[in-house]
C-alpha cells in the first residue's frame, strides 16, 4: 500500500484491485507489461475483466481510454506518490477525472 504508483498504465508491473466496501486488497500482476505492442489495450482488457468500475492512474493512452469508456469505467488522475495516499484522496473526493490522453506508442517498426 505504501508502494509508488507507476507512471505507465499499460506497462505497470501490478494492478491493485481494491474493494472500497469490504476493504480487501488484491494485487494482480499485469501480464500486458512486456507486450510487444498494444500494452495499453491488453492492460485495459485486464481491468475490464477484473470487474473494476473505477481506475486510478497517473496517465493513460487514448487506446486504453477508449476501452475503459466503452466499458463504463471511470478514470481518475492520481496525484500523490503512493497507492495509500491516492486511495485516501479518492475517498475524500479530491481526485480529478482524467481528461487528457496521450497517443499510442505502437510497437511496430
Amino acid at each position: 500500500m505504501e508502494s509508488a504508483v507507476c507512471v505507465s498504465f499499460g506497462r505497470a508491473p501490478f494492478f491493485l484491485l481494491y474493494d472500497t466496501e469490504s476493504k480487501t486488497e488484491n494485487f494482480v500482476p499485469n501480464t500486458a507489461a512486456d507486450a510487444q505492442g498494444g500494452a495499453g489495450l491488453k492492460a485495459a482488457q485486464l481491468v475490464v475483466d477484473m470487474g473494476a468500475d473505477t481506475l486510478l492512474t497517473v496517465r493513460c493512452g487514448q487506446n486504453a481510454a477508449d476501452v475503459l469508456v466503452a466499458a463504463g469505467i471511470k478514470v481518475y488522475k492520481t496525484a500523490a506518490p503512493t497507492v495509500a495516499e491516492n486511495l485516501r484522496d479518492f475517498a475524500e473526493g479530491k481526485l480529478s477525472v482524467m481528461t487528457q490522453f496521450h497517443a499510442g506508442f505502437h510497437g511496430r517498426q
Binding site: A32, A35, Q36, G37, G38, A39, L41, K42, A44, Q45, V48, N63, D66, V67, A70, A71, G72, G104, H106, G107, R108, Q109
Partner: protein, 279 residues
Amino acid sequence: MKIAVLSGKGGTGKTFTSVNLAAAANRATYIDCDVEEPNGRLFFKPEGVEAQSISTLIPTFNAGKCNGCRKCVDFCRFNALVYVKDKPMVFPEVCHSCGGCALVCPSGAVTEIKKVVGSVESGVSGNVRIITGVMNLGEASGIPIIKAALKKSGIAEELTVIDCPPGSACPVMESVQSADYCLLVAEPTAFGLHNFEMVHELTALLGKPCGVIINKADGEYLPLDKFLADHKIPVLCRIPYSERLAQLGADAEIAVKCDADMAALFHTLLADIRKEAAG
C-alpha cells in the same frame, strides 16, 4: 534492369544519387520507397500525377453472430482486440491485418474491410516515370505501400531506379528484394562507416551484387577504404563535397540538369553499373 540505391545512414545522398541516376538515363522509372518521407518528387516535380489508394484489411464484428467465445481476442498477438460489453472492439493502429481473428471465429462473425493506409502516385517528368509511395501519417507499416509501388517497375529491358528508405530494417529489405544490383551510398566518416557496415550486411544476406559511391568525400577516411577493400566492394565513384551541390540539393534541383560535369559523371556511373551487373 533494377538498381536499388541505399545508404545505412540518413543524409548521405541516397535521394541525390537515385534522382540523378534516373535523370541521366535515356528513359527510366524512378520509384521512391521512402514512404515515410518521400523526397524524390520534390526534385522531379512530376506532372499528370494519378494516385492509387493502398489499403490494408481491418476486422469488423457482427454482434448478431458473435457468441462471446473470445477466441478472436485470445488469438490476437498484437492485442488489437478487446472484449467489452459483450462485443469485440478492434484498434486499427495496432492491428497487423493478419486475418487470424476471421479464421478462428467459429460463428462467422468477423468480416474484414479495407482501411486506407497510403497511396502510390504515378507521374512523369521528362523521360522519367515517377512512382512515389506515400504512407499516411500515423500508420505503422509502410510495407504494403512499398510492395504496391514496386509493382509499377519498368520492364526488365528498361532502367528502374529504386530509392530505398534509410537504414536496414524491414522496409529496406522489402525495397531491395527485386533489385538486380545495389548501389550503396557511403559517407567517409566514422558514423557513415558504422551504418554502412549494416546496410552491406543486408545486401550480402539477400545475395545482391553491390557497388559503392562515396559521397561528400571531403577527405579520406581510411577505415572506410579498408572495409571496402577487405570485402572486395568496388568503388564506382567519389563525389567531393561541394557547396554548389549542397545548395542545389537544398533547393531540390536536379544536378545533372544544371551541371555538365555531374551529367557526365552519372552517365559514366550508369554505364559502369551495367558493366558490373553483367560481368
